[in-house]
């Protein structure tokens, strides 16, 4: 990809870590013995500097930190203080000019995880804090700094899709002098206006404005309008897209190189079915009455608009009511003798401003509510409805009855959206469910969308969306022009030498960051659009081949933290992970509320619980943890892409593996906590700690150590990871992966794969440790696994050439190749 060039923001990867300990008034200092903590960290970590500062987050403290960074050439900083959720951003902002960028600063919350919630001597609490800080230091030591990625903008902005928002977007772009290509099917402006009522009926008042915009666009030197065939494919990333249009007539396929894409897609309208008596003459829809007025002028008879969206289970009644009002007003303004009434379900409110109410009275347009509980009946010349006021069934007579149209995104539009790589669900509009994270964490919309195919809206809103989409395009185009467009620091990258192109990542994460590939996609290494990736990291934790890395916040870093922490835990202590949107936030709040709980629980925060590679958890057990508690968001509330769901299935798998090892399955547990319920969090932790007390420590003889090592290796096994990632089935889903129909059958398959791979790993590990030749019964004895299982695995390993089989006196002996 030529879009990414590296700028030398950091030259050396050698970590020089500074640790700053915050006193936080009296909230940390007297409760935690900071002097002792300083001494411990100085002696037992590689930190280049440990310093106590009363308030590192205030101007004097920040000045101190800047001075210390400069004096000690610090390039990574741990602040032991309060919530990173709130404070990290300030440190990142303030220390950017001191050379520390996102990812190079970590904040450890010793106030809310230790000082406020644990009763203990200052020395004890210093001990607990030390473990947490050391783990953070280890995490930063493992940080592989990646240089800032500059994103270049190759080519103009392209607007496609042919929706009316095209012109608003183009106007915005031309005013900022950004080169733009409009790809349309028809170049005739008059055509557009003539057909407008089909998609935006009752919007006559906006036509003049639209005409002006169109003219401005038509005359601008920055806008090139091209007539193209059907959109065929879109490849590439923000700043560097290749758009291909199909061959048309004698034109060969056209290919354009563009920097950004704006899709202007208008939704479509269908007439109501016959169940409302629709016949297109007497009973008709908005588009038809609009056309009638357009051709024959305003009618003179009695017209009733019935806002019947709710009766057809469509939520767009408000919009239909507005359209009806616009058409009704036009009729009355042009033909006094026409009688117009608007019949609406009393569950909606008439979309009228105070001035419009007055106008409605002046024009004698009746707004008649009916009781939404009882469906009105259409008769010839009448509609019967139930008056919500006195519950009398009334009739209203009509010469023409106008129904709401059925709105849908339109087949053409869905096709374009699919080519653009959006996940389109059947029957739904194209509006994406953005991940519920902070704005700076959300990448760009992969392609900017505008128009009523996103979500039904009126013409004014469509134009506004066009402007807004274009504003975003202008923003990146201008940044790129100034050479200041950089990709965010914490996004996924693909090691293309490891990626086999299985596409699991794209299925797992719907943030859109995994770029589409040509064709069916087998065997083509994927790449990530850094401008779109939100840094959720579930995909990286699921990749069977470890090809994906969440840079500056990697699995290796989390593993380093876990190793350090797990090794330092005593036998009656346990650890856990909390996500920033659930567990970790609830833990912060428990500290702020001063709730007390066990000091034997160590919490590490994670951006999303789905960031946790199962192998990291396996590593925790291997390195000495006796219990791991994962505390995520409440079910169905993952703010990223299914992070919680994937964690759920990872935990189930680890439980199975623990069973195979022969230790209690409850040692790994998943819990859910709402951030606003710190009491629940405390209960969860207390319960887990007492469970661990009941279970006692894992007895770690050599046998057990080897088995736990095998668990870790199994969790890194590509086949296991593939089955895990591909077979995600959430608790309430009734469909099963592949062709399985039975919950147990599905689970058995996974268990079989796990057992097989676990035993294989055990065998290989065992033979690697003791380099000699073995008989079958020796292996079976040492591993304490079933003979048949071991034999099956050995056969396979021999078949794969991993293990060699030699015969001596007709007895087979095995050895690692």
């Amino acid at each position: 990809m030529n879009a990414a060039t590296n700028s030398p923001i950091t030259t050396s990867n050698e970590a020089r870590i500074g640790v700053v300990l915050c006193e936080c008034g009296h909230k940390i200092a007297p409760k935690v013995d900071l002097e002792l903590l300083t001494q411990e960290l100085k002696e037992n970590t590689g930190a280049a500097l440990v310093e106590i500062i009363p308030f590192p987050c205030l101007s004097p403290g920040l000045d101190d930190i800047r001075r210390l960074i400069a004096a000690n050439q610090i390039n990574r900083l741990v602040v032991a203080g309060c919530e990173p959720r709130i404070m990290l951003k300030k440190f990142e902002k303030e220390l950017l000019d001191a050379g520390l960028d996102q990812g190079q600063i970590d904040v450890v919350n010793i106030r809310d995880y230790v000082a406020s919630v644990n009763d203990g001597s200052p020395a004890d609490l210093a001990g607990k804090s030390a473990k947490l800080v050391k783990s953070a230091v280890a995490g930063l030591e493992a940080l592989v700094l990646t240089p800032k990625t500059k994103v270049e903008f190759n080519g103009p902005v392209m607007i496609l899709g042919g929706g009316i928002a095209t012109f608003a977007a183009a106007q915005e772009l031309l005013r900022h002098e950004v080169d733009t290509i409009i790809a349309v099917q028809t170049e005739e402006i008059e055509d557009e206006i003539r057909m407008l009522h089909e998609r935006y009926p009752g919007e006559r008042e906006s036509h003049d404005r639209l005409m002006k915009i169109m003219q401005e666009v038509d005359e601008s030197p920055f806008i090139k309008i091209i007539s193209v065939g059907e959109l065929e494919k879109v490849l590439g990333r923000v700043g560097d897209y290749t758009v291909t249009f199909a061959a048309e007539g004698d034109h060969p396929p056209r290919i354009y190189q563009v920097g950004a894409i704006i899709a202007a897609l208008d939704g479509e309208m269908q007439n109501q079915g016959s169940d409302f008596g629709h016949d297109g003459v007497k009973v008709l829809c908005h588009t038809e009455i609009e056309e009638q007025i357009w051709l024959h002028g305003a009618p003179t008879h009695r017209i009733v608009f019935w806002i019947n969206d709710l009766e057809t289970a469509r939520p767009y009644a408000y919009l239909s009511a507005k359209t009806a009002w616009n058409i009704a007003r036009h009729i009355k303004e042009h033909c006094v003798q026409a009688q117009v009434a608007i019949l609406y379900n009393n569950k909606i409110k008439p979309p009228l401003s105070a001035a419009e109410r007055v106008k409605a009275r002046d024009l004698k347009i009746d707004w008649i509510p009916y009781d939404g509980e009882i469906r009105p009946t259409v008769q010839m010349g009448y509609v019967t409805y139930n008056d919500p006021d006195d519950q009398i069934e009334r009739e209203i007579s009509w010469d023409q009855l106008v129904l709401s149209p059925k709105r849908y995104p339109g087949l053409e539009q869905i096709k374009v959206a699919e080519i653009l790589g959006l996940h389109v669900k059947e029957g739904e509009f194209l509006k994406r469910n953005p991940q519920m994270v902070r704005p700076e964490q959300v990448g760009l919309d992969e392609k900017f969308m505008a128009g009523s195919a996103r979500q039904p809206c009126d013409l004014r809103e469509t134009l506004r969306q066009g402007h807004r989409a274009a504003q975003k395009a202008v923003e990146i185009a201008q940044l790129a022009k100034a050479g200041e467009l950089y990709a965010p620091r914490m996004v996924c990258t693909v090691d293309r030498s490891k990626c086999i192109g299985c596409g699991l990542c794209r299925e797992i994460c719907d943030c859109g960051g995994i770029e589409p590939v040509e064709g069916l996609g087998g065997n083509i290494p994927r790449s990530v659009d850094p401008m779109v990736c939100t840094g959720g990291g579930t995909c990286a934790a699921a990749c069977p081949y470890h090809a994906l890395t969440l840079q500056n916040n990697s699995t290796a870093q989390r593993e380093a933290r876990v190793v350090t922490l797990a090794r330092s835990l005593t036998e009656n202590e346990c650890m856990g992970f909390g996500c920033n949107w659930g567990g970790a936030a609830a833990a912060d709040h428990a500290g702020i509320k001063g709730l007390k709980y066990s000091d034997r629980f160590y919490l590490l925060p994670a951006g999303c619980i789905g960031q946790l590679d199962p192998a990291v958890i396996g590593r925790a057990f291997m390195e000495g943890a006796n219990g791991v508690l994962l505390i995520g968001c409440p079910p169905e509330e993952c703010h990223h892409s299914y992070g919680l769901d994937h964690t759920w299935s990872r935990v189930l798998m680890i439980k199975k593996l623990l069973s195979l090892v022969g230790i209690d399955r409850q040692r790994i547990s998943l819990a859910h906590t709402d951030l606003n319920n710190p009491g629940q969090y405390v209960k969860t932790v207390e319960s887990f700690v007492s469970l661990m007390d009941k279970l006692g420590p894992i007895s770690r003889d050599d046998d057990m150590k080897a088995r736990l090592k095998a668990v870790y290796d199994t969790l890194n096994n590509a086949r296991v990871r593939w089955v895990l990632g591909a077979s995600l089935r959430r608790p309430w889903e009734t469909a099963y992966p592949t062709d399985q129909r039975n919950a147990i059958a599905c689970d058995v398959t996974l268990s079989d794969v796990l057992t097989e791979e676990f035993v294989r790993t055990e065998i290989v590990n065992f033979m690697r440790d003791q380099r000699k030749v073995f008989e079958l019964k020796e292996i079976v004895q040492s591993l304490k696994e079933e003979k048949q299982q071991v034999l099956d695995c050995l056969k396979e390993l021999v078949g794969e050439g991993i293990i060699t089989r030699i015969f001596k006196d007709r007895t087979p002996y095995y050895t690692l190749q």
Binding site: I53, F55, C57, S59, I86, K90, K425, N433, A585, I592
Partner: protein
């Protein structure tokens, strides 16, 4: 720490509670005091956001020459020769008034009651309109939402005596990302109580439909 002897440019000397301190010109009195382990109570102040001097609890007496005045320390910049007293009778009197008013404003807040008791304020002479109110309208939640989180899910609604922290039209706001930052910075339990009004049903908004 700060007691390095060499005096460089941009440093000013002042006295806080009799303790001579040095500070940079762009520091505020509160920051300087805290850096030197001098406690000044605050409610509407949080390190993560811009100070706005709303609650006035951080008032101190600032003396310059023969003049003295009461200033809010979270906004007042340091100055050469300034003499700051953080708990004179005058200052404590102001704080007691503030706390007495707060007792009427948010009588249900345990945090405010504890703070008031520390200043000997156990009852209020002001009329209590909303006995269950915990919010003191310090606006920390509004500021953190805008400055730290980067969305504007909550704001002040209504004016004057009816002013309150709310979402537009009092309905759950789709701009809210349910990060809980407002709850974290709230000096009382007010935001915890009204978070659900702001974020609404999170599972509805995070619902991606079915995975895969």
């Amino acid at each position: 720490m700060s007691d390095n002897k060499e005096k460089t440019d941009g440093l000013v000397s002042l006295v806080i509670d009799g303790q001579p301190v040095q500070a940079k010109e762009d520091w505020t009195v509160l920051e300087t005091a805290r850096h030197n382990h001098i406690h000044i109570p605050t409610l509407c102040y949080h390190e993560a956001v811009q100070a706005n001097g709303g609650c006035r609890l951080c008032v101190v007496e600032a003396k310059e020459g023969n003049w003295s005045k009461i200033v809010v320390s979270c906004l007042y910049p340091v100055k050469e020769g300034l003499q700051i007293s953080t708990s004179t009778a005058k200052v404590n009197n102001v704080r007691r008034w503030i706390l007495e008013m707060l007792l009427a404003e948010c009588p249900a807040s345990k945090e405010i009651r504890t703070l008031a008791e520390a200043y000997g304020v156990n009852s209020t002479r002001f009329k209590i309109d909303r006995p269950t109110e915990q919010c003191l309208l310090c606006g920390l939640c509004v500021r953190v939402c805008e400055e730290v989180v980067g969305v504007r899910a909550i704001s002040f609604g209504s004016r004057g005596v009816n002013k309150q922290v709310a979402t537009p039209y009092m309905v759950p706001n789709n701009a809210c990302v349910a990060c809980g930052s407002c709850v974290t910075v709230c000096p009382t339990g007010a935001m915890q109580a009204r978070l659900n009004m702001v974020r609404g049903n999170v599972s509805e908004r995070t619902g991606h439909g079915h995975a895969h």
